[in-house]
Symmetry: C2
Subunit: 328 residues, 2 copies
């Protein structure tokens, strides 16, 4: 019988949830506002509500709940500490907290949201072609995941893959962690929007100026649309972003010798407007012996990989338990 | 009975060789000139001569020969391709080439020289304290190795750990592979010597100017000696190098979540003159959640870790064969 699990993507703005079939992917989905400002209890209640909804719809037993979350995840994947954007949340054991709210004991596994996206990409997205790849998610922040031989490479304590905080210019602009030249200080949505606004003002003929006046901020989508319509400034901005992405990924390839690079998140929708520059740039930043076979590709499933990967945490765990003879 | 293996460190200038006991480390050592300019046959004959010398001295059977080499190593660890500094060498299967020269069939395993140094460090050097660490070797070039759970992390094809080619400034000076801002373009010996000479000329009172006049070049050792004697310019140069090292290692920590960093190679002898700056800088380049427990330490065994790690390739291989039931 096909295995079922529930995947949850816990974000600062919304919570997405899905019932996932191992063989067929998404079965049901639902989402709601996170209501982060109402504190951790409200967030947990919202998560529990979505999980209960999925449990009610499942036509066969559900193996457990996987959660992708911001913040620091402990090695055992049970606890989330200090998630940015979730005020008041210190350290919470998700299984212990959610089970009473759901009304039944539930096995809950949690993993960093970027790693979960990587896992979803590996099993249901563009990563299916590769045993090993690096995933970078270009959203509000820049997240990363290393998938090595079909598993998440977690590092010594579970925190590997922080591509957004790798510097590409030790003297460059600072990100939210005060790291100079961190890739997020170029590619994170807020930083890119600020750069785009500056570029627009320097190019009065650009259509971006009207958008800036009407919208107040240049979100990636607006820049992409303008680029599609032939706006040269918009194309230049995306080209600039692609260059930074290529530098970042080049550094990562040198360190890891993993040459397949999957890009997800909102900005990845800009497609070749950023990928062309990334693809030509990366070759300039990788040592000769590692240049062959480099591929940068777009994750077409968008944010769906989050809930899919979260559910897959549960499937992997079931495999491991079955292999080691532990009962579930 | 204690296991014996032979380790070879194949460099562009000299070949070092050792008979190594798994339990006790170095038993005998020998070295000779590489004679790279005489071509691959001469280099292989020199290697074979040293290996034969060690075989003759071994008082019990030797499991095999491990070699640390520059160049591209195939996944099976049998073949070395295009080693820089070894002219005329295209692709050579070391076991097949050395056995007839030694006069007896010998099992030969080869691995990237930086990885082999990391393995030696893990089992006989500063890395013994850690399951996982990153080793960076500051020599003519800047080599790197990732030791993850006591094994070399090899990446998808065996080429992981190229820290020397990771960029820390996408618009910075180019290294030998034309990579702008590669760490080697600051920390590689030739690059650092050029920087030091420029700094000396800008500071006429520095004792480095006399050394530059008499020696023609400021090798790291000379800069270190001047720093010990209180030369402010020498200290500034090493501080500058330490800053670049800290930036580089910070990027690597973000990607890998491996927070123990061992520094070897000639420049590491400068000790706290570079490590103080590296230790304060790295914290500025690592994301908040990964700063705790970061340690940068010096490998005290120097170049010995090369032959020790090379021999350890053979011990690991014997373990793997014995675990999988394959006969050796």
């Amino acid at each position: 019988m096909d295995q079922l699990a529930i995947g949850v993507d816990l974000g600062g703005t919304s919570i997405k949830c899905a019932l996932v079939s191992r063989g067929h992917g998404l079965v049901h989905t639902a989402h709601c506002d996170t209501e982060a400002d109402r504190g951790p209890d409200a967030v947990l209640a919202n998560m529990a509500g979505l999980v209960r909804l999925m449990l009610d719809r499942a036509e066969s037993p559900v193996l457990g709940v996987g959660v992708g979350s911001p913040g620091i995840i402990n090695w055992d994947r049970t606890t989330v500490s200090q998630p940015p954007n979730l005020p008041g949340w210190t350290s919470i054991h998700l299984g212990d907290s959610l089970s009473p709210l759901i009304g039944t004991p539930v096995r809950v596994l949690v993993e960093n949201d970027a790693n979960v996206a990587g896992l979803g990409c590996a099993h249901y997205g563009a990563g299916r072609r590769f045993d090993s790849f690096i995933m970078v998610t270009l959203g509000t922040g820049v997240g990363g995941a290393i998938i090595y031989r079909n598993r998440i490479f977690r590092g010594a304590t579970g925190g590997a893959g922080e591509l957004g905080h790798m510097t590409i210019d030790y003297d460059g602009p600072a990100d939210n962690h005060d790291i100079c030249g961190a890739s997020e200080a170029y590619l994170g949505q807020r930083f890119l929007s600020v750069h785009a606004a500056r570029m627009a003002r320097q190019n009065p003929a650009s259509s971006l100026n009207d958008l800036l006046a009407s919208q107040g901020e240049l979100e990636p989508r607006l820049i992409y649309d303008a680029a599609v319509q032939g706006d040269e400034t918009a194309r230049e901005i995306l080209n600039w972003a692609g260059h930074k992405l290529g530098v970042l990924l080049g550094s990562a390839v040198n360190l890891l010798d993993i040459r397949k690079l999957v890009v997800g998140g909102g900005l990845s929708a800009a497609g070749d407007f950023i990928f062309d520059a990334a693809r030509s740039t990366i070759l300039q930043y990788v040592t000769h012996g590692l240049r062959e076979g480099i591929e940068i590709i777009q994750e077409p499933r968008g944010n769906e990989v989050g809930v899919l990967g979260a559910a897959h945490l549960v499937f992997h765990d079931a495999d491991d338990r079955s292999a080691s003879g532990t009962s579930a």
